[in-house]
Symmetry: C2
Subunit: 719 residues, 2 copies
Amino acid sequence: METPAAGSAEMPRQFPKLNISEVDEQVRLLAEKVFAKVLREEDSKDALSLFTVPEDCPIGQKEAKERELQKELAEQKSVETAKRKKSFKMIRSQSLSLQMPTQQDWKGPPTSSPVMSPTTPVFPGATSQPTPAPYAMPEFQRVTISGDYCAGITVEDYEQAAKSLAKALMIREKYARLAYHRFPRTTARYLGHRRGDTVPPEEGLPDFHPPPLPQEDPYCLDNAPPNLGYLVRMRGGILFVYDNKKMLERQEPHSLPYPDLETYTVDMSHILALITDGPTKTYCHRRLNFLESKFSLHEMLNEMSEFKELKSNPHRDFYNVRKVDTHIHAAACMNQKHLLRFIKHTYQTEPDRTVAEKRGRKITLRQVFDSLHMDPYDLTVDSLDVHAGRQTFHRFDKFNSKYNPVGASELRDLYLKTENYLGGEYFARMVKEVARELEESKYQYSEPRLSIYGRSPEEWPNLARWFIQHKVYSPNMRWIIQVPRIYDIFRAKKLLPSFGKMLENIFLPLFEATINPQDHQELHLFLKYVTGFDSVDDESKHSDHMFSDKSPSPDVWTSEQNPPYSYYLYYMYANIMVLNNLRRERGLSTFLFRPHCGEAGSITHLVSAFLTADNISHGLLLKKEALMEEYAIAAQVWKLSTCDLCEIARNSVLQSGLSHQEKQKFLGQNYYKEGPEGNDIRKTNVAQIRMAFRYETLCNELSFLSDAMKSEEITALTQ
Amino acid sequence: METPAAGSAEMPRQFPKLNISEVDEQVRLLAEKVFAKVLREEDSKDALSLFTVPEDCPIGQKEAKERELQKELAEQKSVETAKRKKSFKMIRSQSLSLQMPTQQDWKGPPTSSPVMSPTTPVFPGATSQPTPAPYAMPEFQRVTISGDYCAGITVEDYEQAAKSLAKALMIREKYARLAYHRFPRTTARYLGHRRGDTVPPEEGLPDFHPPPLPQEDPYCLDNAPPNLGYLVRMRGGILFVYDNKKMLERQEPHSLPYPDLETYTVDMSHILALITDGPTKTYCHRRLNFLESKFSLHEMLNEMSEFKELKSNPHRDFYNVRKVDTHIHAAACMNQKHLLRFIKHTYQTEPDRTVAEKRGRKITLRQVFDSLHMDPYDLTVDSLDVHAGRQTFHRFDKFNSKYNPVGASELRDLYLKTENYLGGEYFARMVKEVARELEESKYQYSEPRLSIYGRSPEEWPNLARWFIQHKVYSPNMRWIIQVPRIYDIFRAKKLLPSFGKMLENIFLPLFEATINPQDHQELHLFLKYVTGFDSVDDESKHSDHMFSDKSPSPDVWTSEQNPPYSYYLYYMYANIMVLNNLRRERGLSTFLFRPHCGEAGSITHLVSAFLTADNISHGLLLKKEALMEEYAIAAQVWKLSTCDLCEIARNSVLQSGLSHQEKQKFLGQNYYKEGPEGNDIRKTNVAQIRMAFRYETLCNELSFLSDAMKSEEITALTQ
């Protein structure tokens, strides 16, 4: 009886009548109201308002969301509803499981029966994994993809892409571990079972000096460790450590991992080949598109639940979660208004103070301004154009001159330098004012950059002295050393004989202070508050030298030509790596390499950083704004939710150089564990649902890689 | 040993060296190539080309897609790969199922354990469902949502929304079945078990007359069924049928479902209340957003697989799948160029033919143009502004005058009318030229609208005569009768005494031709090729009358005021419904009500159509273009894939008035079944994957509604 024309077995052909009085009066009144409204406003736009949902109006949306939330919270209290809720879940799971079998009729072999995406990681090979500590994990809706093993690409392509991506990760892991950089535990595990590597992820992590306790003096120079008497020599741009003279003569260096350029070239070649590989590009492109949609879907489905989690998190909002400005230049950490105020203040209070000396002639502050033909009272934020402008991008070597207040290097030297007639007093005072603001705000931290140029080995002790003399320490600041890539300028000025000398000026003092803290107490102390190195300059600067094991080594790099970015990064990494191992051996803190990368210039910069960097710094914008403002603006621009903002804040703390103890205090005991078990919502205000989504998504992507790696074995098995 | 600072159990601290010669030579060369390229083009934009994926360039994308496909097709042939593919699936399902249990640690009660969304429908209640016929169902990636029962809204809201949506669907189903309109089988089943309704979905479907066989004469007036002798009278705007005079006197109408306005008002109130209900709006808004993302995700994951399906479908592409223009006005079915050519042609060939008569004076074609002071040779497509322009939207009652070639009603009457001195010969000839084009293209069909105004009962026989006299029949055309909502104009011109009379003029001839085909052979024949009714006019026309059971009935609606849209629709539906039941009883074809709706004006129009229409016509654009062009343009505008286009084409055939036999021929034996089992890719070129996605998605949404409906029972059970 399949033909639609079938006349038989008709349904009873009469019209089932209803009586108006049977209708709930309310419905009738409402209907009439609607009709009336429509009649009145048929042509006016807001006739629709009755039937639409607040879409574009943020306020309307926010209100609607709030109402929703109140309802839900109220609901949770009702036993009745709880029961009903439960019953719905029962129906769902039942009615749905009912439907699974029939699906087979369509999909043939059970091997292809729907499969969930991973939720908590299982590390094949890793027999005993620590079971996650029990913690509240609210339910949420998971977006899972059942069916095929990977978006429509061929097995060969998938295999090739997955394997080369896995290889790339292993290479990065190798360099990260050698330098005591961080590498994600989960990723390590998914790769781990391959390399039979059994290092527990907690180990080989960087070590940052915890801040002194309140009662301790942050400038105390006592009990610096004794001299080890090691000797240090530069060979091929890398500092080698020798236990003593004899070993030095024998050229038998102290047992540390000294990097090998040939190996580095090989590894770099692999990554370079990878980024141009068709299948890999396609695979990544697809996965990234997919992940983007997956997240938007997750938000759509769980926005309310995440929102609920945060709301039920007592007295925590975005303003009282810890956040770190991981990328700011000390010379620009104060805003223009601040600098302007400070300049005017000094001019008012100490115009006759001697602040400089030119050809033996002492110069007062008033004289400085007179010589510039300017009166501080005329200065305005606009005339005081100190922040990085357009040109800064393109002529980064002009970076410093760009930071001249009203372009006068006199004022820069006076107010924004650590080395000048006043011993950098003005600069120190301003930095400290910024520090006080952070300390008052309590939840904001920053990692300002101080410059080491490598012109002379004296830069280090001077910087340390400046720091201690002016008591620049602040619990809310950790220091990063930025090294401008301007060898060419110094070389042209005959300030340096070779690139090797520049490297020596930058790193030798650190090795000496590490081997013999007793005789370098100030630097030793200062280094407790230094957590990493940055490499800065105009990335778009072109270089036609191709870095490889054939390149001239730094000690013979004497030309005025600047080495390429990749060359700088390798030798910075190499020396930091050796240094970190030496310091770790002594139980001293280690440093992170966090170069600027990817702002401009060649894509290969990212390859170098992928191998050598713990993480990369970026974002000129940050130079201009107070931290909180940035978040507020970002939220506006990208429509970020509170949960998004708190997630970003949490990440900024994670990747910062704050010590293990501080991170435990700010993020929670298990902060270094990945996924929800590493998150303490009471401190971070990041929804566990969000954490779970990120973690499960990561695991799913990683499982694609590890599956590809074990394919041969399995293929063998299934023969 | 959980602290990251852990110094013990260090990984061996040496640098693992690699030898350059160990690297695959290829990798090295490639790396150098990359480097070289970068060095050369660092600053030029296309340096990136190496590393990017064709994103914006459609050609690039298409090529990439083609390459991918070739690979995949090649792959399918390789046994080796097949094995590997299988092994991957094994790994996936295994590695993933491995991960499921551990998930419990997080998610607590098993009730919340992930649950798949439905894939093939199971109709709770409906004990024995026909198992789908076996057909090729390629695997694809399903987007499923595990976890909670419904996006973050409260149980109360979900329940309320789901229940009122289900109720609305049931109301629509009632009116659809009564009028032999179509109602989706799947939806009916999900609602069905509620109402204990056991009507097999194949039944109660509309019945369209199959086209005559090639050897048959489409104009054969023989064997019209005999006279039943029934009598017809209008009561309250609805035609009632009486078996004979006696019954008429007794006011005992023939047993047919005669609609009841009070009931209709009640039902309408429910829908009106529904569309303003907060929870329902929120629920729908969320689901719609979700479904949009779900589809884009589906496309992302399965685009290639769908593409593959189509490619492996021999000699079928978008150009040779059947498609129907379901919305076109006969008077505008030819494009301007065509009309222009035709006018010039007639002027050249028969200038002296008498083509009109004014006050008894015969007028030749030349005289017509002379009186208009125009020479056809001067006519251009632009001067010939016949297509619907801006004003048409706003003064739809001017619709006809708008269709004046160069605004001259003489030309309109002459070329675009069925009733004139030439008996509509010119119009017929043009329509037939269009029909020939369709027949030649073979795969294109259309459903042009012809007007019945309801001014006089003679319109019907005249139209039928025109059709037969000029042999307008075409296998590629089915006819829809459009009734302009312009009672007010006729009333003002004193052409009609009441709205009831207009309805009588429109429907009485149809009842008579149905009861007594013998004496109305021409109309009886013509009706074989008429498949439905359209209601047309400017929807934005405002009316301040609120339609309800309190409204004056049509026979007493004598004012010059035009009744509102809802009033028109109800009485059109009511009479079509009775007529269809009468015709069905005689085994004659039935008609669909397919009004224009939602172009402009009140949202309540959609409510009326939701109750009374089989489907709604819309889209003025279609009036201008040849069918194929439209698709091409749409494809450009919305970036539609071939699969998308073929899906639209398939839907156009489904919702058209083509007969069961034709649809089986064009779409496949089981076209009327929903989901993949109803699709024959060999004919439709629509991927089964797409069909499955649509079907499973529909079932998932419907299951939310049916689950809500059974909630009480279950709650009772779980007490």
